[in-house]
Symmetry: C2
């Protein structure tokens, strides 16, 4: 954790593999400028030698490199070695520049012919304070102020809540009084007296220190190669990795408690799944961006609790009312003999509706009036969740001192710079006269055209691929169903529908899982082709693409079942055929909602179980194993003999997986959010399953971050960025989709219409009869009649589910007036539902202020406290000056020395009243 | 413009009326502390006397006041005089506190028994710099940087555009190079060397100076009366008015050009209506808030140009295609004899459809397919406008240095404080034990309950009032139409519809105008009842209330015509009757769209002409006249003899109207925006009329601000606040309303349905016949048959406009299948239109970035320039110090004096490297 002097803390580690091409220096010396002997050291200056070596190198190319090392054999220097040497020089230059920027570094001796070496970096106070000022990092000042709490009933309620949830709170030491908050102010060396600096080594915590170092690493360039920052160097393999250190071991019972161990005990274990998350500690350890992710995940999981409860109630309502539901009773009633038209040509027989009794009853579980209320509830739930998130975000950014955080300037990505360089070279070669200064500096539309075109084309292709997969499954269903119905085996034939549906859904699931992985990779590749300028745009575009592809992939089969299946069947005597004789598939007699429900639940559960949990646990384990094997193979014994005795933190961390961003974690949750909201009308238990999944997910992710990944760079972030927009988009989409599911997929509207418009006595009796149209079997086309029907002779009319004119009407088999009336009602319901729910959402949005009232008051209060604090400090300053002047009058002629001391302290006072001497001031007194 | 020493600028003026109750001081002296002699002066300190006088005063109440002035007759002191004395003391205390805060003030001698007196305030550099630092006012630094412009074609296009619009640009001197922008940085006295301070008197411009003074005035309290700031004092009539001064005369040909004159010449005249607005100058003179209003108004007016053009095209399309429109041709064709059922019972006869030919043709002008496209266009237009406004806002806040502006803390309104005081007093009287500290500090829910209840009740009542007014007009129409149709006069009877419609709309308009004024007052009163805490919440709530009431008021009759008129008529033989025998009103044969159009155009035009222009010009004139008369009456001659010879700027400004906020200006425009977007499907010329109105409106408002109002306090604002939300709400509402207008009110869908579903040959021939149902006249109820019909015998069937089953059908007069089919199509169209347009709007919103790309790049660039600038300054500092140290070494023993000078300059360097000596430093050298 420290340099070899055991004093200076290691704030950042760079790792690289080296390979010696020749051995000029004695073992243990390394490059001469950077390690004097084997002891650690920080270079204060490195004069001409370093630069002198680097520059001719660049001008003359690689082949002159050996001349720099006279007396060394040149024979060995192959192209690989030249590359290696080039890298070494880059490293040297880079590290020199770091030292120039004020950082202190320590290197291990490169005492083997090849191996892994670490550069450890320490940031001294001078650098930290300078950078903190430039980065405008808010630090707590001495001034504390009380956070006013709500009075009255709210306070009491809050206290009771705190009492009740006490066992659920993680046992993490709170910093000081929770009712007091220190006033924060962007760090300024001029106002250093404001801050409560007890120890300069611990004033900035580890996360802040590593962030500062990271900032310098990003900024420092190696001019020789025209590359900018550590990103480029890692991209070009000069360094292997760059990471801050973990706080120590997370396991072990020894006394020295570090934050990592605390996090592991109180957060990153399945054993504490029932506890709240220690968000502040997570933020302190991993930074704001990851803190926000877990806060978001926590809030989402909490919000799933009420919706699960309501979902269960709705489901139970369905179970209880199943007995009293007249339509399903009528369907099951053996006395009602509805002779239905055959389900397939030739081989299928007429059948009795009562045989579909079970599906009718099952579908009532999900297709009942409570579902309508539930989907309104869920739409408002989504709005409430987003609102509440905005509030929580605001609250966190207040307590985390992120208010007023401005967007930071970002450096271009290495890939962008490479591309730009290529372009410049090309321009130099071809056109010299028409060189617009502006256009050289950035990639223009025409440069990006191929990338965009490839993107558009491939995304369209991928979407088509998804659609064809869905279509393939449809074809599978149609053909298999047809094939099975030819079967002579009675049991096979009776289970056709179940068999076909189940296998098809499983195929769908497998396809989704496979395509999901492919699409993830494709999205990444496509974004790289696009060459976005900054890391942020890269992330945003990647997310958008990946989301689009994965969304289409996950939901396409569900959309098909919800809105298209069974709508293009035609009617008896005039069926729609695909592929020469296969009839389009129909929904089960219970309605399409039942099938939608099955489809949804299997895909959602399967995806969660397999992808989120199995993959997420398994794949990192496999990767780790693979890495270990590889490492063991490449470096068989040397490592062991040297370092395995006492592995340092940097060695331990190097073995861990690097952190690759939060995108997959968010993506998983967002797709799940889609399952929970988009088709919730058809599957009220979705929130429950999501809740169960998330309780595991939180700890799974936590465990990954604490135990399996290198410590990520802390990144400041005020919000969750584009994810919020996607969430709110899904929320809006869910309103219209649910409206259509209820209106079009479910039987809600026809029932309502029947009860209030067509029923004789205002009850549902006769509803089934009303929904079935008549068909004269003599109108069946030749060759499509049932072949082996035992009672074909008795049947004159068969029934089918549709609103069509009866055979005895003038316009036989045309859509009847009821059809249009019901359609009108369905559409009117969509309009009503959509606008009502949208209006309610806007209302909720408007009623709940984005910034919690107490927080906005605190922020205002903080400002006035700050001004008071400043004015007071200024006043004190003036007083002090007056007293100086008074003393000055007395001592007017006391001599040179007193005078000098006074002047010096005076100056010092100006600069920093109580704090440390600024550098020049101390230099001055030294003189 | 200046104090009597002609040097110190008057930054702010307080005006009050005084009345002497006794004359102790010799004339011309005023109160002894504030005016020494009659010469102007600024008090530097006012010791015990003033306070000593004020404090016993407070403790003992008013009746002891005379004891303070021994030797003065007490007899005259009535209650009015006591009040007057109280006020005078408050003024004295307040002015003393101002002086203590560092301001310099000058008063006129109170040499008359009563009259108007002015307190003129000047802010010296010390105060200005301190406050500018506290308020974080961004000031330009020395560092300039180039604004990178787009290269390539865009640049050329931009140049051409600039050339073309040159005559339209106002001739306002640009400050320096437009391609360069100074880097701005919040003013800081510690970093004073950053700024380009040529003259301390002009470094802060007039607007900033007056803002600073205003800030101090708001903050300074008179402890004695427990009141806070100038707001309370004005509210309690201690002062009459507080305002900054205008820059001078706006008329006159003399050479001294001031900004007000410039604004008048280049902006605030009708003569320059074709020119762009000098937004930067407006902002400089009136502040950001007013600047944003005019920028918004300008953008809105510009955006109206394309929509007017498209509107005219749509209208012309209607005019051109009127000849080829088959339905109206069929209607006008004398050969088609559609005998229509009578329009009223008993007195009306059967009539021929061709007699309604003219209205059919007129309605085609507005009811044609182009209208659908136009309303999609307008929905997108609204989105584009809002997006563009966001961008312009962002651009302005970049150029006006408002980026990063934080919300300022606001002081509670005086009314709120009064209420709080009352509550405290009450609490003291009644409960002493149950006194919650928190609850005392603010008004709780229970305190506000009556206010909220009154609000809710009155708003509901007002809305009911509007509805009853609309209903009253409906009743007027029904009864008048019935009454006129009894008339025996042939011409009267033939013009029934025209007469009734025209008079009814005019009544509507008058009601709207009257209620509008009432609602404005009621909304204000209601908001005052609510006692909002800060000025901002007051404004927001007032706006919301006023908008709600005015919106309902303006649009209720239009909504009625669009969606309800003619839908509850019933059918022949089964009409719906109201009030014992009056049939509900029907739309004209041409469709309701025509009537909607008439209603809309008359209300919109009438409202604009009468309210916006007549009222806005007339009422201020009248008010001015009234004020003048009143002033002349109360102060007949004294003023004239003394001051009229040479009226100072403060006298001139005092005569002007005070500025009362931008709410009415915005409200007017927002209601107009509603007319332009909400029902645009029925009246494509609305944008044109709005455009014409706004061209006048801009100059009208400008003129008002420049010539008729006192100079408003400059207020910093980053955006237009709640108005943006209202605008975007109207934009969203317009989508659904237009969808319904097209689907339900217009004949668009039935025509489409006929052409593609029912027509024999795919043309519109026969459409009229298809829309008319048959009625067997023998089914007319007894007593409702036409009495004096010449051809009653010949008529067996009469026709009426509806889709109903014919008399010969089984279910006669029920809605036919066509009815339901058309209804389904209408509703499907609504869903399609709404979701399509919403999707497109979201797309437009998403495609156009909120922050213009060049601006966001500039902002980022500015940040890095700032950091470079700072680092460079720091570097120079270090170098300078080094040179000092070098000199120090040489002169090591040169003596006390040199040493002292060095030390002093050293200190000064620390504080302000090149700028002025800070106060204490200069004090030090004086010593």
């Amino acid at each position: 954790m420290h340099f070899r002097d055991s004093k200076r803390k290691v704030d950042y580690v760079l790792a690289y593999h080296y390979r010696k091409c020749f051995a000029r220096h004695p073992p243990g010396a390394g490059s001469p400028e950077l390690t004097h002997g084997s002891a650690s050291l920080a270079l204060v200056s490195n004069g001409g030698t370093g630069k002198g070596r680097a520059e001719p190198q660049r001008q003359d190319g690689d082949h002159h490199a050996p001349q720099e090392h006279p007396g060394v054999e040149v024979i060995e220097l192959g192209p690989l070695d030249a590359l290696e040497e080039e890298k070494r020089l880059q490293r040297e230059e880079y590290e020199r520049n770091l030292v120039e920027a004020g950082l202190e570094i320590e290197k291990d001796p490169e005492n083997k012919s090849q191996g892994l070496s670490f550069v450890r970096i320490h940031a001294p106070w001078q650098v930290l304070s300078r950078e903190a000022e430039l980065l405008k990092i808010k630090m707590p000042t001495k001034k504390m102020y009380e956070i006013t709490e709500e009075g009255g009933i709210l306070k009491t309620l809050n206290e009771i809540w705190c009492k009740l949830t006490e066992p659920l709170q993680p046992q993490v030491p709170q910093q000081g009084n929770t009712n007091m908050k220190s006033l924060s102010y962007p760090f300024s060396r001029e106002k250093i007296y404001l801050y409560n600096i007890k120890d300069k080594d611990t004033f900035f915590d580890n996360a802040t220190r590593s962030r500062i170092v990271r900032e310098i690493l990003k900024r420092t360039s190696t001019k020789a190669r025209n590359s900018m920052g550590i990103g480029t160097l890692i991209a070009s393999n000069v360094y292997d990795a760059a990471y801050p250190l973990h706080d120590g071991e997370y396991e072990g019972q020894n006394d020295d408690m570090n934050e990592r161990k605390l996090l592991y005990r109180e957060w990153a274990r399945y054993g504490v799944f029932y506890k709240f998350q220690p968000i502040d500690l997570i933020r302190k350890y991993f930074g704001e961006k990851i803190g926000l992710y877990f806060a978001w995940l926590g809030l989402y999981t909490e919000f799933l609790i009420p919706s699960s409860v309501v979902g269960i109630i709705v489901f139970l309502y369905g179970c209880i009312t199943i007995e009293s539901d007249i339509p399903s009773k009528e369907m099951c009633d053996q006395r009602n003999t509805f002779t239905m038209c055959p389900l397939c040509d030739k081989f299928c027989d007429y059948w009795n509706l009562s045989s579909a009794c079970a599906t009718a009853q099952a579908s009532h579980l999900f297709d009942n009036p409570a579902t309508v209320l539930f989907s309104i509830f869920m739409a408002l739930w989504a709005t409430m969740f987003l609102e509440q998130w905005k509030r929580l975000q605001m609250r966190l950014s207040y307590f985390w001192d992120l208010t007023g955080l401005e967007e930071e300037e970002e450096h271009p990505r290495p890939e962008y710079e490479t591309k730009l360089l290529q372009k410049k070279l090309k321009n130099k070669n071809f056109t010299t006269e028409n060189s617009n200064e502006e256009e050289k500096k950035k990639l223009t539309w025409s440069d990006r055209m191929p990338g965009y075109a490839a993107n558009l084309g491939l995304i369209l292709f991928m979407i088509m691929l998804t659609f064809s997969a869905v279509f393939g499954v449809i074809v599978y269903r149609i053909t298999t169903a047809a094939a099975l119905s030819f079967s002579t085996n009675e049991t096979t034939r009776s289970n056709v529908r179940v068999t076909v549906t189940a296998t098809a859904v499983i195929i769908n699931l497998v396809v989704i899982l496979i395509l999901d992985e492919i699409y993830g990779a494709v999205a990444k590749w496509l974004t790289e082709i696009e060459v976005p300028k900054t890391e942020k745009t890269f992330e945003e575009r990647l997310i958008l693409k990946a989301f689009l592809l994965k969304f289409v992939n996950s939901y396409a089969p569900i959309f098909y079942v919800a809105f298209f299946k069974g709508r293009f069947v035609g009617r008896p005597g005039h069926y729609v055929y695909v592929f020469d004789g296969y009839r389009m598939e129909e929904c089960a007699p219970g309605g399409c909602l039942m099938e939608l429900c099955i489809q949804l639940s299997i895909i959602m559960l399967g995806k969660q179980l397999i992808q989120n949990n199995l993959f997420e646990i398994g794949i990192p384990k496999l990767k780790k194993l693979f890495r270990k094997l590889k490492d063991e193979r490449t470096e068989p014994k040397e490592m062991d003999t040297n370092q395995s005795k006492d592995p340092q933190q940097w060695d331990l961390d190097y073995i861990l997986e690097p952190f690759t961003g939060l995108t997959p974690e968010y993506m998983e949750m967002i797709i799940q959010f889609g399952f929970v909201t988009l088709f919730v009308a058809s599957f009220p238990l979705a929130p429950l399953f999501a809740l169960l999944n998330n309780i595991i997910e939180v700890r799974l992710d936590a465990k990954k971050f604490v135990t399996e990944l290198r410590r990520p760079d802390t990144v400041r972030a005020k919000d969750i960025g584009i994810w919020y927009n996607i969430l709110s988009g899904i929320g809006k989409l869910s309103v219209i989709i649910n409206a259509f599911v209820i209106a079009v997929t479910s039987d809600f509207i026809p029932r309502l219409m029947y009860q209030y418009a067509y029923s004789q006595n205002g009850t549902m009796h006769g509803f089934i009869n009303h929904t079935l149209s008549y068909f004269n079997v003599s109108h069946l086309k030749a060759g499509t009649q049932p072949e082996n029907s035992p009672f074909a002779q008795d049947v004159i009319f068969c029934r089918f589910k549709d609103y069509r004119e009866p055979p005895w009407s003038q316009n036989q088999y045309e859509f009847s007036k009821q059809y249009w009336a019901v359609l009108s009602a369905r559409l009117a319901f969509v309009i009503l539902f959509q606008n009502l729910v949208m209006f309610l959402s806007v209302l909720v949005d408007w009623m709940i202020p984005d910034i919690p009232k107490d927080i906005s008051e605190q922020i205002k209060k903080e400002k006035s406290v700050l001004i008071d604090f400043f004015l007071k400090e200024e006043h004190e300053k003036l007083k002090l000056i007056e007293s100086f002047i008074a003393r000055d009058k007395k001592k007017h002629k006391s001599g040179t020395k007193g005078e000098r001391i006074r002047a010096a302290s005076f100056c010092q006072f100006n600069q920093s009243r109580k704090g440390s001497f600024a550098s020049f001031s101390s230099q001055h007194t030294e003189v």
